[in-house]
């Protein structure tokens, strides 16, 4: 009996340790392949060159165009998702009736379960043609449309995290504000949002991290042309879309072109890793305030 208990505990521990192995595996393979890449391409060229053309005859390995593309689509997505998600969260938490809340929340969740490849279809087939009616010079592939669609996809993520933050603020604070004669608007913006600010900031950071790592929407609708620009109307390429582009083709194992996806991958990983850890830090530092 004793032995059986011990064995079971060990087996369960192995399951848990597998997650550590995953992280170690990710870091190791990214490092090993990226080191192989940087043996052939100097890190200075990688960080400063403004051309990314590993598949052309005139090869150039500057990550800046992919970073610009990633930044551009993410910035557009966040400027859609953050205000909308926040307004919805405040509205549902402070204004909406219980009935309204019970209808809107599950429907918003539907937006979050639609696979990303489907959002890519929406961006290319619906949003780009729609935007073209207002911006005639918009290219068929561009940063604007996938950025907006990505934003729509992230709205439920922002709204549900921010709403959690708002609803964890003790009701006594709201009652006190009302007692002082504040309107709902004053209560929401001068009491509730400041009180929930750490949770709201965390939701914003995680949303940015999501947008940076999003792949299929940009792979479908942004155009696969690495370009060092912040113009949202022309075709661009993100880090993630580049990895898809390379792995879709026949790039032989061990070549420099193969290693570029790991150099791109480690860049992506570093960004999301930093963002995620900032959000943990904020959460663990400010969470206990009301507990």
């Amino acid at each position: 009996m004793r032995i059986k208990e011990k064995v079971i505990e060990k087996i369960l521990a192995v399951c848990a340790l597998l997650t550590v192995l995953t992280t170690v595996g990710i870091i190791l393979i990214l490092l090993v392949e990226a080191v192989g890449f940087f043996r052939e391409v100097s890190i200075i060229e990688f960080l400063t060159e403004t051309q990314w053309t590993p598949l052309f005859t005139q090869k150039s390995y500057g990550i800046l165009p992919l970073l610009a593309g990633t930044f551009l689509t993410s910035a557009i997505a966040i400027s859609v998702a953050l205000p909308t998600g926040l307004i919805i969260a405040v509205y549902l938490n402070e204004y909406a009736s219980k009935r309204m809340k019970n209808i809107v929340k599950p429907l918003l969740e539907v937006l979050a379960v639609v696979p990303t490849v489907v959002y890519g279809f929406f961006a290319l087939m619906i949003v780009t043609p729609f935007l073209k009616m207002f911006i005639p010079e918009l290219s068929g592939f561009n940063a604007l449309s996938p950025g907006i669609v990505m934003g729509i996809m992230i709205i439920p993520f922002v709204s549900s995290l921010s709403e959690d933050a708002l609803s964890s603020v003790p009701g006594s604070l709201r009652q006190a504000a009302f007692g002082m004669g504040s309107t709902k608007f004053q209560t929401a913006f001068r009491v509730m949002i400041p009180a929930a600010s750490s949770g709201i900031i965390v939701s914003a950071i995680l949303a940015i991290s999501r947008a940076i790592g999003e792949t299929m929407i940009v792979a479908i609708a942004a155009g696969h042309q690495a370009r060092f620009t912040l113009d949202p109307t022309v075709p661009i390429e993100t880090i993630t879309a580049y990895i898809v582009q390379i792995t879709m083709g026949d790039v032989p194992y061990g070549t420099l072109a193969y290693k570029t996806i790991f150099a791109a991958g480690i860049t992506l990983f570093i960004f999301t890793f930093i963002l995620n850890n900032i959000s943990f830090w904020i959460r663990s530092r400010y969470q206990q305030k009301y507990e």
Binding site: I26, P115, F121, M125, I243, G265, L268
Partner: protein
């Protein structure tokens, strides 16, 4: 200067507008898909092999591949994810090792899915020499959804009242007996709900499977876990990327099938959560 009453009304209007427009966009998107694709849906579309002629192409290999991936990923990830969740919630002591485990899992949940693809490409496809097989795909997706399963398992376990555990232990049950006979049955609905949601995520994933080398064109139905494969999302991606309108129609029709699967899984999860919450009242 706006009066505060007016601001109040204005913001309420904004809130309603934001919520309703999100839902409206969802309706437009789904409506467009159905409008474009529903006529293309037919028995033939479901049982035809892929083809370079749009009107003859079907999604047979794609949905069989999705089914394979779903079953294989589910059977690998369930025991590992639930096991890890039980360990962290019931056995984990408050020491540095478990602190690291927890931070690590939260971190993994934030790693972009395409990075898991790179991991799978090196470890499963190259080092373990599985090639671009269903097994390599299922293992990659397992690593991807493990953090989700672990977190939801822990939440479900935490919802079991401590009195149940105390009662079982007072009767002389060992730790594992208590977990196996009391805690797991009491939390199973919650565990299963989280698990199904994770599987639905895996079914919709495209990027990691493209990276590990799942093909867009597979002219046969996979017979074993070591066969090459394609899945619905990759088939959709392939069709969307073609300029001809007929393939776009095919993509829309395939999206309907994919959405039916995803929504069905989520529907089951929501229903189970609902039932479970109703049935068990502590």
């Amino acid at each position: 200067m706006l009066s505060s009453r007016y601001k109040d009304k204005l913001f309420q209007g904004m809130g309603i507008t934001a919520s309703v427009s999100c839902l409206l966009i969802l309706v437009i998107f789904l409506g467009f898909i159905i409008y474009q694709g529903v006529d293309r849906l037919s028995w033939d579309f479901l049982i035809n092999l892929p083809s370079r002629f749009a009107d003859r192409a079907g999604i047979y290999t794609a949905w069989i591949g999705t089914l394979w991936i779903m079953v294989l990923t589910a059977s690998i990830s369930f025991p590992i994810g639930v096991g890890a969740g039980i360990y962290l919630e019931e056995y984990g002591k408050k020491n540095w090792l478990n602190k690291i485990l927890e931070i690590n899992i939260a971190n993994l949940a934030g790693v972009p899915s395409i990075i898991y693809g790179l991991l799978g490409l090196e470890v499963f496809v190259r080092i373990m020499k599985m090639g671009n097989s269903i097994l390599a795909g299922a293992l990659t997706l397992t690593l991807l959804i493990l953090p989700i399963i672990i977190v939801s398992t822990r939440e479900a376990l935490r919802a079991v009242p401590p009195s149940l555990k105390a009662a079982s232990e007072a009767l002389g049950a060992s730790k594992w007996q208590t977990i196996w006979h009391q805690i797991l049955p009491a939390s199973f609905g919650g565990i299963l709900t989280g698990f199904i949601l994770a599987i639905s995520r895996a079914v919709g994933e495209t990027a990691p499977l493209i990276v590990i080398g799942a093909l867009a064109y597979v002219p046969f139905v996979p017979r074993s876990p070591l066969d090459e494969f394609t899945v619905l999302p990759i088939q959709i991606f392939n069709w969307v990327s073609r300029p001809q309108h007929e393939f776009v129609i095919n993509a829309a029709a395939a999206i309907i099938v994919l959405l039916v699967i995803t929504f069905a899984l989520n529907g089951v999860a929501v229903y189970m959560r609902h039932r479970w919450q109703k049935k068990i009242q502590w």
